[in-house]
């Protein structure tokens, strides 16, 4: 039977290897488009912090453009984006840390539950006890480990008796995963600890005043992988009692620790989504480009 001739001729074994999938070089560079509104799910029910149309200016320069975002109770929100995209500026406006910069001006609605953060009657010291902050470089006070942690509770009058203060110090150090390492040298200087221990001391100092929200500005960028893993473990445990917003340059870290991820780009909030979505199927092409390392 001579059926072979009848085989469709054009289908005979074309080699796909000779045909490159897509010639990347020839793709024209297209104009970057910002979404009109943040894509994804920037809002949640019953948020801890409600931020609407937030603009931040440094003098005449606008660093943040109309950012609207909710930070939910007991959730970890990671803020990611290329350098200079405004994520730290935004984070700092959440406990009025930008007040220390004269030319900085913040507008929009920023609420911690039902309290307006920028209400002129707002006591900033009290606000910062409710919204604590951990910085990029560990910055313990030049005091003993004990006094570092006890400083906040003393300032805010949270403990009247010595034993009460002892208890706060111990609980905070335990929560920060540092107690076992320092319990025998509580009165040694905090600056004598290793980098990772110092950062955990700073976290203990922050949580000693029982804040509701903890802001973290690249808390692990100066730490080795082991210390980083400890801090990340700690973040996970802290979500039981606190709400956390973390700025990080490590996308893997954002992927590991956060529930939702917010992507900033040149002062705009491009996309907020469940972390899993952001890292497997981001909605916006700018997020995609950053996540896959195509710029930034």
């Amino acid at each position: 039977m001579d059926t072979a001739e009848k085989l469709d001729k054009n289908a005979s074994g074309r080699n796909h290897a000779e045909e490159p999938m897509i010639d990347l070089e020839e793709q024209p560079m297209q104009e970057t488009r910002y979404p009109e509104h943040t894509v994804g799910t920037p809002f949640v029910d019953d948020p801890k912090m409600r931020l609407r149309d937030v603009d931040v200016f440094y003098g005449d320069n606008q660093a943040i453009h109309k950012v609207s975002l909710d930070i939910g109770k007991n959730e970890v929100v990671a803020l990611i984006g290329p350098s200079g995209c405004g994520k730290s500026t935004f984070l700092r406006s959440l406990n009025r840390m930008n007040d220390t910069i004269d030319i900085c001006r913040v507008t929009g609605e920023l609420f911690l539950e039902d309290q307006d953060l920028y209400d002129p009657k707002m006591d900033v010291v009290e606000l910062r006890a409710r919204v604590g902050m951990v910085f990029q470089k560990p910055n313990p006070f030049p005091k003993s480990i004990y006094d570092n942690v006890a400083y906040g509770p003393r300032l805010h009058g949270l403990a009247n008796k010595k034993y009460e203060l002892d208890e706060i110090v111990e609980t905070s150090l335990r929560k920060a995963g540092l107690w076992d390492e320092v319990k025998d040298r509580l009165h040694a200087p905090g600056t004598g600890l290793s980098g990772g221990q110092q950062q955990r001391l700073c976290i203990a100092r922050t949580i000693a005043v029982s804040p509701e929200v903890v802001l973290m500005d690249e808390p692990c960028s100066a730490l080795d992988p082991i210390a980083t893993a400890k801090i990340e473990e700690l973040i996970d445990e802290l979500t039981e009692s606190y709400t956390i917003a973390i700025v990080t340059h490590s996308m893997q870290q954002a992927a590991r620790v956060s529930n939702r991820t917010a992507y900033f780009h040149l002062g705009r909030l491009i996309e907020v989504n469940d972390t899993e979505t952001v890292f497997t199927k981001p909605e916006h092409e700018l997020t995609e480009a950053y996540i896959t390392g195509r710029f930034g």
């Binding site: 039977m1 001579d2 059926t3 072979a4 009848k6 085989l7 469709d8 289908a11 005979s12 074994g13 074309r14 080699n15 796909h16 290897a17 000779e18 045909e19 490159p20 999938m21 897509i22 990347l24 793709q27 560079m29 297209q30 996308m251 893997q252 992927a255 952001v278 890292f279 497997t280 199927k281 981001p282 092409e285 997020t287 995609e288 480009a289 996540i291 896959t292 390392g293 195509r294 710029f295 930034g296």
Partner: protein, 237 residues
């Protein structure tokens, strides 16, 4: 979303690694496609030399499978790919195992061709083999094209074609079984054709799997184990 929107990765090594994986996948696809075409040819022409060739090609396909899997594992370990890069790696590792299975099925067809060239031709079934063979070959080619071009619509067409192949396979089975009842002396030769049709039908399933991976790659949606209508909705919606 067009993954080439922003062009190259900031890391040229990462670019090269991804490029190399894509090229090897296409090379493997080309080899397997040729295996299928040759196996059909060998069966239809009772060409035992060609059948031997198909079986020998397996070795090269297997080596490529291992190589591509190693490359993918390396990218996962060293680059921690995310978003479309991650989906590419996942889709490639799955498509590679489907391609390898298609190679296996081609070898089975080639083995049937060898037997038929020794025993003499089957009195029936060649029309069906040619017809379903053409279908399946087009499906494989289109699924590889869709992979190469990130074309989810074409992948959807492949999935639709698989349903047709399944229908034709069932009807061919019925007519061949009827024929064997009428002429029991031909059973052993007709069985060789039936096994070949079975292999072709499986190749169609694997081509459909590859197409489903293309949809996952392009749209980020898992379309396995759902009806054609649902699949269409996920791709278009």
């Amino acid at each position: 979303m067009d993954r080439t929107y922003f062009g190259q990765h900031s890391s040229s090594q990462f670019n090269e690694a991804l490029e190399s994986i894509r090229n090897h996948l296409m090379e493997m696809g080309g080899l397997v496609e040729k295996q299928v075409v040759d196996a059909l040819d060998a069966l239809l022409r009772a060409d035992s030399d060609l059948a031997e060739k198909v079986m020998q090609a397996e070795d090269k396909v297997d080596k490529l499978e291992i190589q591509i899997d190693e490359e993918c594992a390396r990218v996962l370990a060293l680059r921690q790919p995310a978003a479309s890069d991650l989906r590419l790696i996942i889709a490639v590792t799955k498509a590679v195992s489907d391609l390898e299975r298609i190679g296996d099925e081609s070898a089975k067809i080639a083995a049937m061709a060898l037997q038929l060239s020794e025993e003499g031709e089957s009195p029936r079934g060649y029309v069906e083999v040619r017809h379903i063979g053409n279908h399946v070959r087009n499906m494989l080619r289109d699924s590889l094209d869709a992979f190469a071009r990130f074309d989810a619509d074409k992948a959807l067409d492949v999935a639709a074609e698989d349903n047709e192949v399944d229908l034709e396979y069932r009807s061919a089975m019925r007519s061949l079984v009827t024929f064997m009842m009428e002429d029991p002396r031909a059973i052993s030769r007709v069985l060789n054709i039936i096994w070949s049709l079975r292999a072709l039908e499986r190749i169609g399933d694997h081509a459909r799997n590859i197409a489903e991976q293309v949809i996952f790659l392009v749209k980020g949606k898992d379309v396995r184990h759902i009806s054609m209508d649902e699949m269409e909705e996920k791709v278009k919606g």
